[in-house]
């Protein structure tokens, strides 16, 4: 079988067998277009990428990210232009991290699935018709579910406060929806809301001065400051904290990064977790073959973040049963022997107890409030353990569930 004909025949047979044996199941490279307004959502983006990685996507091999932001504007035309640029890039999915961009994305005439993260209320914002069957090839994660509960936490953390100041931007849909939820909750809880818009004319946009004006001129009768889901307001969190520290007012925010910036506590979505939720939805669409419109809008997981350093500065004692429910506690640096400055440490596992004594520095700053005095004795040892524990808790457990 060495004649040319025979050789040619063998080659043909071998080629046939090789082609028949080849599996042909190549790994597909998905392209995800990403857009956000500003870098405030960077943690969400990071956690989204981490979530994709945890789900088995390898950047450059099975997934490619095209970041076309930040837009630095919520202008509909600019948003539409950026989104269309992503569509022109033939992305397989668009991931957005802002209500305004999600609204723009939902208006696109495209079959490309869209996943959003951390939109306050996609139904009220007109992004989708309903949560269970969003349709429009859009799905995502909302976070506007915790305002009433946040206010309830506020009443437990600062039980003497009866009048809550709420500055807000009336042109921000999220802010107005957030305010409405807060007011409803206030009615149930029997407390007073002191709301103040940054502009009296709802047709006029607020300037920075307008915002500064309402965040620095806190009403004299306000007992606490409740920041709504309003990016303009929380953008001035340092100014708010200056006023709050001066008047020893507790401040509540919706996002934990602002707690790290000095607010007393937050009960809401965790930037580091919401991206992971969006990643799972993305995986269900890309690899699971599920239509985005068939995936119910998910509610963001909720975490309670408490800044004990701020509590100490405003002379507020937070009872143990509250601390124990927190997912993350920022403790005063002076109270930890080996903790680094500004360190964020996780809350203790709920059922772990230690017999650590209260450090003098911390004890000096913790002033039990009237309502919490009765629990002070029982809580003091646990508060101490929370303060003394950082050196025992690894940093990587900072996002661990309570």
């Amino acid at each position: 079988m060495t004649s040319p004909k025979a050789r040619w025949l063998l080659i043909c047979i071998a080629a046939f067998l090789l082609s028949a044996c080849s599996s042909g199941s190549g790994t597909r490279l998905f392209t995800i277009g990403i857009l956000n307004v500003n870098t405030a959502t960077q943690q969400t983006l990071d956690s989204f990428k981490e979530g994709m990685k945890a789900l088995g996507y390898s950047e450059g091999q099975t997934v490619r990210f095209i970041y076309n932001g930040p837009t630095n504007s919520t202008d509909a035309k600019i948003v539409a232009t950026r989104l269309n640029e992503l569509l022109d890039a033939k992305v397989d999915l668009i991931f957005v991290m802002n209500t305004a961009i999600a609204i723009g994305a939902a208006k696109l005439e495209t079959t490309t699935p869209i996943v959003f993260a951390a939109v306050y209320d996609p139904v009220a914002s007109g992004i989708v018709a309903e949560r269970i069957h969003p349709g429009k090839n859009v799905t995502g994660v909302l976070h506007g579910i915790s305002e009433s509960k946040r206010l309830e936490w506020f009443t437990r953390i600062a039980p003497t406060a009866k009048r809550y100041y709420v500055p807000y931007n009336p042109r921000d849909v999220s802010a107005t929806l957030s305010l409405a939820a807060i007011k409803d909750a206030a009615t149930q809880l029997g407390i007073t809301i002191l709301e103040r818009p940054c502009t009296a004319d709802s047709a006029k946009s607020c300037t920075t001065d307008d915002v500064l004006n309402i965040v620095t001129n806190v009403p004299e009768d306000a007992d606490a400051i409740m920041c709504p889901a309003d990016s303009l307001i929380v953008g001035q969190i340092k100014k708010i904290n200056e006023v709050a520290f001066a008047r020893k007012l507790p401040v509540s925010v919706i996002g934990h990064p602002d707690v790290e910036n000095g607010a007393l506590f937050s009960y809401g979505f965790n930037f580091k977790r919401v991206g992971g939720q969006a990643a799972r939805l993305t995986d269900q669409i890309l690899r699971g073959g599920v239509k985005a419109g068939d995936l119910p809008i998910e509610a963001a997981e909720l975490d309670l973040f408490i800044n004990l350093d701020t509590a100490a500065k405003i002379g507020l004692f937070i009872p143990n049963d509250i601390l124990i429910a927190a997912s993350t506690i920022l403790r005063p640096v002076a109270s930890t022997a080996s903790a680094t400055a500004g360190a964020t440490v996780s809350a203790l596992p709920a059922l772990v107890t230690t017999q650590a004594t209260l450090p003098p520095a911390t004890a000096a700053t913790l002033q039990p409030t009237e309502a919490s005095t009765m629990q002070a004795t029982a809580a003091s040892s646990a508060a101490t353990e929370a303060s003394a524990q950082p050196t025992e808790q690894p940093t990587q457990s900072a996002t661990a569930a309570p």
């Binding site: 949560r131 269970i132 009433s148 309830e152 909750a185 149930q188 995936l295 049963d321 124990i324 059922l351």
Partner: protein
């Protein structure tokens, strides 16, 4: 030339028509001998491959179902354990302290939506919720609800049926743990947790599956309560698993042919039964087997072509000399003049029986040709002799006839008269008359 009516399938040699040629028969025989065993072997291998692949697919789905069922069971067990620990810490405490204890549940608020501590009368002593504000107005009387009454009466952990939130679609199931009075041993309260079944959805969504594979959970009334596609769950779809495995596959959840396996998770002393199903589309599950069958079919086609070519060539090698000899015989039959012994000489070179036959045939043909030529010469010679004899006989017949004799006599008489002088005859008499006798 002899003519025969040919059947359509027969192929005559040059000048020779045959029915059922040896060549066709030999070709078919060669193909049959070489190809049929291959077909049998190929079919056997293909069948075994499909069966083996199917068994492997079922084993994999069984492992997947067991793995997921284990995770699901662990999730329930973890919540029950936490509740049991919380229950131990509840004894002889105030409502406020009890609230503090139940708020320490590690699964709250990630896995547990709300926790209710009900006394022996079904009244809420403590209630925490991850979303809703709990006030006295929102408290519920649990006395007549199964979530309270069953664990109170049986002293066993109870799981309610799955419920979906109308607005969000979030699924939840109540897990109720009885609280015993350590002194009397009687149940004096129930700890009720609303378990976020969405954790199971998340578990399934993150569960690693292969292409064409899906996992889902059925409850005790065959509702699909967890699936990677929530729309299937939210559409309240029901699916009954087949009682036995089909010959090759079962009907899958989406109506497709699928290889599947299931595993039950029983909780709450039988109050809740979840069936974890892992299934894989038949086409994908047996893809490797089908590829192997494709290769086998390809090999069989190649083998068929090769054996056909080989059979055809072998038959041709055998029948071509025969056809040549038959053609030479036909030529001889018509006459040896056109017979050329050199036409069979290539066959004579063969060392087999056909070569021997060709040599004999060549000799035979040559001898026949020589003899025929000799015979022809003899015939020619005889024919000449016969012709001459015939002529002599004919001459004799003529010369011995009465007429010839009469004419001969007349001729003699005329010759005799011509020797005597004749009178002059006028010239105007026609020539014919003059020459006539």
């Amino acid at each position: 030339m002899t003519t025969h009516q040919q059947p359509p399938s027969s192929r005559p040699f040059k000048g020779v028509a045959v029915r059922n040629s040896i060549r066709s028969q030999l070709t078919l025989a060669f193909i049959g001998v070489s190809f049929i065993p291959l077909v049998l072997v190929g079919l056997t291998l293909a069948g075994l491959t499909i069966i083996a692949q199917r068994e492997q697919a079922i084993s994999r789905e069984r492992a997947v179902a067991i793995s997921l069922a284990g995770q699901l069971d662990d999730l329930f067990q973890r919540v029950e354990n936490e509740m049991a620990i919380a229950v131990k810490g509840l004894s002889s405490q105030t409502d406020f302290e009890d609230t503090s204890v139940i708020s320490r549940l590690p699964s709250f608020p990630d896995t547990i939506q709300s926790v209710i501590l009900a006394d022996a009368n079904g009244r809420e002593r403590a209630h925490i919720d991850r979303l809703k504000i709990v006030t006295d107005a929102t408290k519920t009387d649990w006395q007549y609800l199964k979530e309270f009454s069953i664990p109170l009466q049986t002293g066993q952990t109870y799981y309610s049926s799955l419920a979906f939130d109308d607005k969000t679609g979030d699924p939840s199931v109540y897990v109720s743990v009885p609280i015993f009075n350590p002194r009397s041993g009687e149940v004096h309260g129930v700890l009720i947790s609303s378990l976020r079944f969405k954790r199971v959805w998340d578990l399934i969504a993150a569960f690693p599956v292969d292409r064409g594979e899906s996992v889902y959970v059925l409850d005790s009334i065959n509702r699909v309560v967890a699936h990677v596609n929530p729309s299937i769950t939210l559409s309240n779809r029901r699916f009954t698993l087949p009682a036995s495995v089909g010959i090759l596959a079962d009907t899958g959840l989406l109506g497709n042919r699928a290889v599947s396996s299931s595993r039950q998770v029983v909780r709450g002393t039988g109050s809740a039964t979840f069936t974890v199903v892992a299934e894989r589309d038949l086409g994908v599950a047996l893809e490797l087997a089908f590829q192997t069958v494709g290769v086998i079919i390809g090999l069989l086609i190649v083998a068929f072509l090769l054996s056909s070519a080989h059979g055809f060539a072998a038959a041709r090698r055998l029948t071509r000399p025969i056809a040549a000899l038959a053609e030479a015989a036909e030529i001889i039959r018509k006459g040896t003049d056109n017979f050329d012994p050199r036409t069979v000489e290539p066959i004579m070179l063969r060392t087999d029986e056909l070569g021997q036959l060709a040599r004999v045939f060549r000799n035979m043909g040559t001898e026949v040709k020589v003899r025929e030529q000799a015979l022809k010469q003899q015939v020619q010679k005889l024919r000449i002799e016969i012709d001459e004899a015939k002529k002599e006989k004919q001459v004799a017949e003529i010369t011995e006839s009465d007429m010839f004799k009469d004419l001969k006599a007349k001729a003699v008489a005329m010759r005799a008269r011509s020797s005597t002088p004749r009178p002059v005859i006028a010239n105007n008499q026609p020539e014919e008359e003059r020459s006539s006798p």
